[in-house]
């Protein structure tokens, strides 16, 4: 076999057993790797109805056929589990050298089940598994943990770990690796924490052969050349935070918990300003030539802090909570990274609490004396610290905005800006109608990356301020495209570097694996994987009502910016959702018919294990 190991390593932390399970060529070809193979393994290993925090819920790290190929942006893994934030499929991706080591250690996937009896470091070295005591790592931040594990393991070991937030079961805890890269969304760090698993250390020495090394070398040089061209210029010069000033100008920058769509201090936290006044260096992810990561440092009189700055972190810890001081944003973002918390859900949940405070639903008695007002960066830091420690008000907020609003009640769910429990990213849905649909129907909740539906809105293909019944097809195509990216796994920032994405990717897949693959088959794999993810959610209780948007979006029109007066009605959203279900070939209720399961060759993939 080329390009794959053909097997998954399954580890049971409860019994301290480990065993290999074969992955047939047919399975690998149908589900590719990454997100797709992860969805397949989740169906196989997660019993229906499993509590996300129970030992039954598997935590699955998945590599891909591209991992180890040395092609640009190929060093990535997916982590898939049943999300404690949504109760549905939780899939996050991260660039990581850990992916390369996992594959060299013999694993196409690492499936972790059970719950360790005490704090544990799981070591996988060339397929040999060891369970090490990790009591001394408890309480350490993500960077401290990674450094401590590396210090005790052989040179070349790569580490994934949780921070204090994961240990304390913050529902949106992340898994950190490579000195600050995070699999952040949907709370995989909480699942890891529930398993008493503080860190994973991986080392391997066996490279997986590829079918046509000479062809791959030529392809690699060409892709590297393209990766340094205009298609990635934005990411290389500014990084994703370039979005800030543009989104503000277009009235799509969610501000103060989505009450507004522009932020008066947006230029202060814009990509242009960060690059001019805060950038200290550029960093590259594993095997990546693009270098989209920009390390920003504070420049005020406070303590010096530096860290990665992405648009989503800057939006969620800036405009969303009313903060226009870039130094405060850098500090808050770095704090979340060190504690191991998803920055989007962190900012989204704090913004919800700030609105509750504004409306008198939360008081200083509830917040431990914190005057939790929009724009108060000290209040934001105090609450983030409380969340990471699950202390006081933090214990409420550590469950995310949906669950917190269920406790507080009094209509506060209307301004909990989440879908299926996952807090919204920095794209205002009322002024980005295709994105609105993408956020509503995504299997993992309010996610911009699983559909990339914003692409249509930021083009002349559609009128972003209006709805029409074509958005369903556009969103479906975006989802299928995105899931192929996430399964092979390519970085999304490389997507415009392809002239013919499916054709070129299929060709590369063949050169790596030796298995036949056409553009059409790869596109079909995208549809298959998205249906498989949806089938997992249906199995776990999904219903039509779950595909929706927060009430604020559906009831309130935008009151500022270029999109002033624009709203999104329930009937318009329903019309787009109906169009999406039709495009997918699903029933009017959004269910996957048997004929679709058969035509996509999914029947065997949805056979489920029993609950222990």
């Amino acid at each position: 076999m080329f390009g794959y190991n053909g097997k998954a390593l399954v580890v049971d932390l409860s019994t301290r057993d480990a065993w290999w399970e074969p992955l047939a060529e047919d399975v690998l070809r149908r589900f590719i790797g990454g997100d797709g193979l992860g969805a397949y393994l989740l169906h196989k290993h997660c019993p229906p109805g499993a509590d996300p925090l129970s030992p039954d819920n598997p935590l699955i790290f998945v590599t891909s056929p591209l991992v180890g190929s040395r092609l640009t942006t190929s060093g990535k893994f997916a982590v898939v589990t049943k999300s404690p934030l949504t109760g549905f499929i939780g899939d996050s991706l991260s660039s990581s050298f850990l992916a390369n080591e996992l594959k060299k250690a013999g694993c196409d996937a690492l499936v972790i089940k059970g719950r360790a009896h005490g704090p544990t470091l799981l070591s996988v070295a060339d397929g040999e598994v060891e369970f090490k005591d990790a009591a001394d790592l408890l309480g350490k931040s993500t960077s401290e943990t990674e450094a401590a594990v590396k210090a005790r393991m052989p040179r070349g070991t790569r580490v994934a770990c949780i921070g204090p937030a994961g240990e304390r079961l913050v529902r949106f805890a992340s898994i950190s690796n490579d000195g600050g890269r995070h699999a952040g969304r949907t709370g995989p760090g909480m699942v890891m924490g529930s398993k008493n698993l503080k860190a994973i250390a991986v080392r391997g020495n066996t490279s997986v052969p590829v079918a046509d090394r000479d062809a791959l070398r030529t392809i690699g040089m060409e892709l590297t050349r393209r990766s340094l061209g205009p298609a990635t210029e934005k990411y290389r010069m500014l990084g994703t935070v370039a979005n800030m000033s543009v989104f503000n100008r277009l009235g799509t920058l969610p501000t103060r918990n989505f009450r507004e769509s522009t932020f008066e201090a947006s230029e202060q936290v814009s990509g242009e300003e960060f690059v001019k006044s805060h950038k200290v260096k550029t960093a590259h992810c594993a095997n990546c030539t693009i270098g989209c990561t920009h390390i920003m440092a504070t420049n005020d009189d406070g303590g010096k802090v530096s860290g990665r700055m992405e648009y989503e972190s800057a939006f969620a810890l800036g405009p969303l909570v009313g903060i226009g001081d870039p130094n405060a944003v850098i500090r808050a973002s770095r704090f979340c990274d060190e504690m191991g918390m998803d920055t989007i859900s962190s900012g989204g949940t704090v913004a919800w609490a700030m609105e509750c405070f504004d409306r008198g639903l939360l008081t200083k008695e509830d917040t431990g004396g914190v005057e939790l007002r929009f724009g108060d960066d000290e209040a934001v830091m105090a609450v983030l610290e409380a969340i990471a420690a699950r202390d006081g008000i933090g214990n409420l907020l550590a469950d995310g905005s949906r669950m917190a609003s269920e406790v507080v009640g009094q209509g506060s769910g209307d301004w909990a800006m989440q879908v299926k429990g996952l807090e919204m990213p920095g794209y205002e849905p009322r002024s980005l109608k295709t994105m609105a649909l993408g956020l509503a129907v995504s299997t993992r909740g309010a996610c911009h990356n699983r559909s990339s539906a914003y692409e249509a809105d930021f083009s002349s293909r559609v009128d972003r301020l209006k709805v029409d019944d074509e958005r369903g097809r556009i969103t479906m195509e975006g989802e299928d495209f995105s899931v192929v990216l996430d399964s092979l796994i390519w970085c999304k920032f490389l997507r415009k570097a392809f002239d013919d994405f499916y054709g070129e990717s299929a060709h590369i897949y063949e050169r790596i694996t030796g298995m036949s693959m056409t553009a059409g088959e790869l596109k079909l794999a995208g549809e298959r994987i998205n249906n498989l993810k949806k089938l997992f959610n249906i199995r776990e209780g999904w219903s039509r009502e779950d595909d929706t948007l927060p009430q604020r979006v559906l009831r309130e029109k935008l009151e500022d910016g270029i999109a002033q007066g624009i709203g999104l009605s329930q009937s318009d959203l329903d019309m787009m959702i109906a169009g999406y279900y039709r495009a997918r070939g699903w029933t009017e209720d959004g269910l996957v018919p048997d004929s679709k399961i058969e035509s996509l060759d999914l029947a065997d993939a949805i056979a489920s294990p029993a609950l222990a």
Partner: protein, 99 residues
């Protein structure tokens, strides 16, 4: 925007790569009322030659594929001619919104 006969002066707001490359936040270009996109791009290249190669293609009639023009913050500019009116302005930024 100011009007001189059939020619109008249009403000072009720059974002991201365009702003950093040009070293300023906006430009003013002179255009006919119904310019082809190629005329807009050529005017931008004349106003700020530094944009050529990073934002504007070497032939000075096309934007790089990674860049896009927007009219008044609402309509994205595709192929063909633009219809410019009093107080219209253009926005120039990266066509890739992901992040």
């Amino acid at each position: 925007m100011t009007t001189v006969g059939a020619i109008i002066n249009v403000r072009v707001e720059l974002f991201g790569v365009a702003r950093l490359t040009a070293g300023r936040r906006e430009l003013t270009v002179s255009l006919p009322r119904r310019p082809e996109v190629a005329e807009v791009v050529a005017a931008l290249a004349r106003a700020c030659p530094d944009l050529v190669g990073k934002v504007i293609a070497e032939d000075r009639t096309r934007l790089m594929q990674s860049q896009i023009l927007n009219l008044n913050g609402t309509a994205f500019v595709g192929e063909g001619a633009l219809k410019l009116a009093h107080d219209d302005h253009l926005l120039l930024f990266s066509s890739q919104a992901g992040g």
